[in-house]
């Protein structure tokens, strides 16, 4: 493991130091801002794209699940709402029970709904209020009625149902049920005109019209000689039918009974349940299969007339004409519209396999598709979703239903392909819009970065090689980057001009200084040459004079004095000449070691000299030959003036940029610490002491870049030599 790690480290190290990798690293570092932005943009786009994809995927998934669940519910509700309480279904006769609005016609019913409410068997206990009758909902049609007359207009409804039962074992009858609002019924008395009593006129129009007037009479069962008429039968009636084209007699073609339901406020209702012998109706054909199409083709109208007066005003008859459309109490259309608000395609078929025979399909209905929420944004969202997103598979649910006596049915509800749910489509629109904005921003950023990159390169060239090429494009530009480029260009030129002026100024100063220096050097050289020349012109004859043997003491003394002065001047000139000719050679050396060796060697010779301070490691710049000579001179002076029994100390210390050597002796102070460095000043003037020692020391030490001066201290005198130290990181 360790060796693998080490190998990996080695490889990583080699890669890191590989020239190509280093070049690549440098290239990347120079473009770090662009790379960061590009990486951020790529990450943002990727994240956004992923978000959109995930959003769409999940939305569609969830929508599919939701749709399935919803469709199942809708299908179940539809199938339930098509079932009658008696177990029959609207789907048994989808052709006649589809439409919600249809005209009153004879429809096919699986079984008859006719019965006698009052029979001989239940006459004793019969109570009209106990009658519970509902006409088949599939057959019933509802018509709005307006009863004009009376204290106010009353709006109400009447129900009519006409049906026939195929293969009816009881015969060929048209069963009917009517329920309508009416005041208490005025019965018909035998022999009276029909118009003197309440009546219901049925009209059957096919190729001819048959008018059947129904009137109300007491039930014969209740008219017994042995039993008085009972009030409980006041609201129960036997219905007699009169064909209009026959006068006077009721026809046996109609058997019906009716009962009233009074209302506390307003009108009560009358319900008639009966059957009509189909042979009296237009379109009857005995030979045809029952119910004959001719019978079904009859357009039926109902008119209700009442002789009751409301506030003294007779109620106007009301009803509906043959062919008038009434609203079915129950229909496949209503069931579909109420159970399937999604308006998915609904197909009902017999059988469950691929050969199933279609029984009914919702496309028979003229219904609009479920509308999406209106609005401009929704329309746009849906359009974009259609363009951008691949639609999903239609959602389909199936359910089977078994109606007694009929083959098994399969109901299939199929929702149209939905690209995206409406909310998801809108969200998708805004996400796409955001993506477009991001794209735009990215393009703008890329263009700006490109411009910035050009400016960066131009600025780099400007800084490195002072090349202004590349800035011309910004001189005319007025955009932000152009302004920046122009500003840089101006600043650069301003800086260049300033530098040029400064350079000229420095050149002028330097030139002036050089001229001044040259002048000074010239003057100095002239002086030296003069001195040397004078020295020679005076010294030679002076030498000749001194060589004479006929001089008296005074003459000789004066000549000697002259010679000493000339020699001093001459020597001084030689010293300065020597400086010019490079007699001082400096280098960085260990001053501490030098000073401590000096003290040690002098001490070994018996001189009371001690070194104080560091013994090693203090570097300074000096000429060891000349420094050694001058230091020896100073030390010897110090020894000669030192108080007996005291040491001469050579003290070494450092200060910033300097190394300082002090030669201190206890003893008399110096009257003028500056004058002693002047030329020719000696405390012991003689041919050997021309007063050149300290003068030369000062000149030579100055030439080394240092300085020497004297200080009176408490109890003694210190000669302080300060020397430069090497710069940090240079020298020895």
């Amino acid at each position: 493991m360790k060796s693998t790690l080490n190998r990996v480290k080695d490889i990583a190290g080699k890669l890191h130091n590989h020239p190509k990798v280093k070049r690549l690293g440098g290239w990347l570092r120079r473009r770090d801002f662009t790379l960061y932005l590009a990486t951020g943009a790529v990450a943002l786009f990727s994240l956004f794209g992923l978000a959109i994809y995930d959003f769409i995927y999940v939305a569609k998934q969830k929508d599919q699940q939701h749709q399935e669940s919803m469709l199942r519910g809708q299908l179940a509700e539809f199938l339930l709402s098509t079932r009658e309480p008696d177990g029959s279904s609207l789907l048994e006769n989808p052709q006649e029970f589809t439409k919600a609005n249809r005209q009153a016609q004879v429809v096919s019913l699986r079984r008859s709904f006719f019965t006698y409410f009052l029979t001989k068997g239940n006459v004793r206990s019969f109570q009209p209020d106990d009658i519970r009758f509902e006409a088949p909902r599939a057959c019933s049609l509802e018509y709005p009625v307006e009863q004009i007359g009376g204290p106010e207009v009353q709006r109400n409804v009447m129900h009519a149902c006409f049906g026939a039962v195929p293969n009816d074992p009881t015969g060929r009858y048209v069963y009917f049920s009517l329920r309508y609002p009416a005041p208490a019924i005025t019965r018909h008395k035998a022999g009276q005109p029909l118009s003197d009593s309440d009546r219901v006129t049925l009209r059957f129009s096919e190729h001819r019209t048959v008018k059947l007037v129904l009137v109300f009479e007491p039930s014969p069962i209740t008219q017994s000689r042995n039993r008085p008429a009972q009030k409980r039968f006041d609201r129960f009636h036997e219905v007699a039918g009169f064909l209009i084209d026959e006068a006077g007699r009721s026809t046996r073609a109609v058997q019906a009974q009716a009962f009233e339901r009074p209302a506390e406020n307003g009108l009560g209702s009358v319900t008639i349940l009966g059957r009509i012998d189909a042979s009296i109706l237009p379109g009857f054909d005995d030979a045809e299969k029952w119910p004959a199409q001719g019978i079904k083709n009859n357009r039926i109208g109902v008119e209700v007339a009442s002789v009751a007066k409301g506030n003294g005003t007779a109620l106007k008859p009301y009803g509906f004409a043959p062919g008038a459309a009434g609203k079915a109490v129950m229909s496949l259309e209503q069931a579909y519209l109420s159970a399937v608000p999604s308006r998915a395609n609904l197909a009902v078929a017999y059988g469950t396999d691929s050969n199933a025979r279609e029984l009914w399909h919702s496309n028979q209905l003229d219904v609009a598709q479920a509308a999406r929420p209106p609005g401009f944004f929704q329309i746009v969202s849906d359009k974009i979703a259609e363009l951008a997103v691949k639609g999903g598979n239609p959602v389909k649910v199936q359910q089977q239903q078994q109606v007694a006596g009929l083959p098994r049915m399969t109901a299939t509800l199929t929702a149209d392909e939905i690209v995206l749910p409406d909310i998801a489509a809108r969200a998708f629109l805004w996400m796409i819009a955001l993506l477009v904005v991001l794209l735009f921003v990215s393009v703008v950023a890329a263009v700006s970065l490109s411009k910035l990159d050009r400016l960066t390169r131009a600025a780099s060239a400007l800084a490195k090689v002072h090349r202004t090429r590349g800035f011309e494009q910004y001189l005319r530009s007025r955009d932000q980057i152009g302004t920046l480029g122009r500003a840089m260009h101006v600043l650069f030129h301003r800086d260049q001009n300033r530098l040029a002026r400064l350079h000229k100024h420095l050149e002028r100063e330097d030139s002036a200084r050089k001229i001044a220096i040259a002048r000074d050097v010239e003057r100095l050289q002239l002086r030296q040459q003069t001195l040397l020349a004078i020295g020679h012109e005076i010294r030679s004859p002076l030498g000749n004079l001194l060589a004479r043997t006929d001089l008296d003491d005074m003459q000789r003394t004066n000549l000697e004095r002259m010679r000493r002065s000339i020699d001093a001047l001459y020597e001084a000139a030689k010293i300065e000449e020597g400086l010019k000719n490079g007699s001082i050679v400096v280098s960085a050396m260990d001053l501490a070691q030098f000073v401590s060796s000096f003290a040690r060697n002098l001490h070994a010779d018996g001189a009371p000299v001690v070194a104080v301070g560091p013994q090693r490691g203090v570097m300074a710049i000096y000429d060891e030959i000349m420094l050694g000579h001058h230091l020896e001179h100073v030390i010897k002076n110090a020894l000669s003036y030192a108080t007996p029994e005291t040491n001469v100390e050579i003290r070494l210390r450092e200060s910033p940029g300097q190394a300082i050597v002090e030669v201190f002796n206890f003893g008399p102070l110096i009257a003028d610490t500056r004058e002693i460095f002047a030329l020719g000043v000696s405390d012991r003037p003689s041919p050997e002491h021309m007063g050149l020692g300290l003068y030369a020391a000062r000149i030579h030490i100055l030439e080394m870049g240092g300085n020497i001066h004297a200080e009176n201290r408490e109890g003694g005198v210190a000669f302080v030599i300060s020397l430069s130290t090497p710069a940090q990181g240079s020298g020895e």
Binding site: H536, S540, A547, E577, N581, G628, L631
Partner: protein, 233 residues
């Protein structure tokens, strides 16, 4: 007997020099005042040491007349001591033509003169020259010129030194790696000059090596308070 020639236009100086040279044993001295007679003498006799003034008169031609004399003398293997009050710059130019020379400045210091004459006679002696081939192992890079033992070479390049400087260098080279004390070195000067003059000589030696042969010459080190040392071989 060793032959010494004095060439100076000043009678007093000639007399002074002649008088001083009486202190030196076993020499014969000839004097002359101008270039022509000097050359005649040089052609007639071989001299071991010559004291020559560069300026042999006040005329324009006489300013550097001594140069011609020194050239002839040097060609004949004579050690020349230049006696002059002239500036050193001029003498430097002279030195370039001389091998084994020294300066005696005016006014003449008698002790300095005698010491230098004796020094010159010492170098002019055949013994020193003969033994040149037996020189001790010197530091690498330093050698005598095979054609002229009074000339030194540093790293193959000739270095112009005065006799005093030559003696000092020889002493230091012979003791390479060891300190030669100031007293010993000052003894070469033999003029009673102090360590100041010694330091000046050593500095001038360094300058001569740097100017002639090696601008980075740094072989002579100071043992402060004691002497000087040539770096170890």
């Amino acid at each position: 007997m060793r032959q010494v020639l004095i060439v100076d236009d000043s009678l007093i100086i000639r007399q002074q020099l002649e008088e001083l040279l009486k202190e030196v044993s076993d020499i014969a001295v000839d004097c002359t005042s101008d270039e022509r007679s000097a050359l005649e003498l040089i052609n007639a006799k071989r001299y071991d040491v010559a004291l020559v003034d560069i300026e042999l008169g006040s005329g324009v031609k006489d300013k550097l007349a001594g140069l011609g004399v020194t050239t002839q003398l040097t060609a004949k293997g004579c050690i020349v001591l230049v006696v002059s009050g002239t500036a050193d710059d001029t003498l430097k130019g002279v030195a370039a033509y001389l091998s084994g020379y020294d300066f005696v400045s005016k006014p003449i210091n008698p002790i300095d003169l005698i010491n230098k004459v004796e020094h010159a006679l010492h170098w002019a002696g055949t013994k020193q020259l003969k033994n040149a081939s037996l020189q001790r192992a010197w530091p690498i890079g330093l050698e005598r010129d095979a054609l002229n033992p009074l000339k030194l070479k540093w790293k193959g390049k000739a270095v112009s030194l005065t006799l005093t400087q030559l003696s000092m260098v020889t002493l230091l080279a012979d003791s390479a790696g060891k300190v030669v004390d100031n007293r010993t070195l000052a003894g070469i000067m033999k003029s009673g000059q102090g360590t100041g003059a010694l330091a000046t000589h050593i500095s001038n030696i360094r300058k001569a090596f740097r100017e002639s042969a090696d601008e980075n010459f740094d072989e002579i080190h100071v043992e402060p308070g004691k002497g000087y040392r040539w770096k170890a071989a």
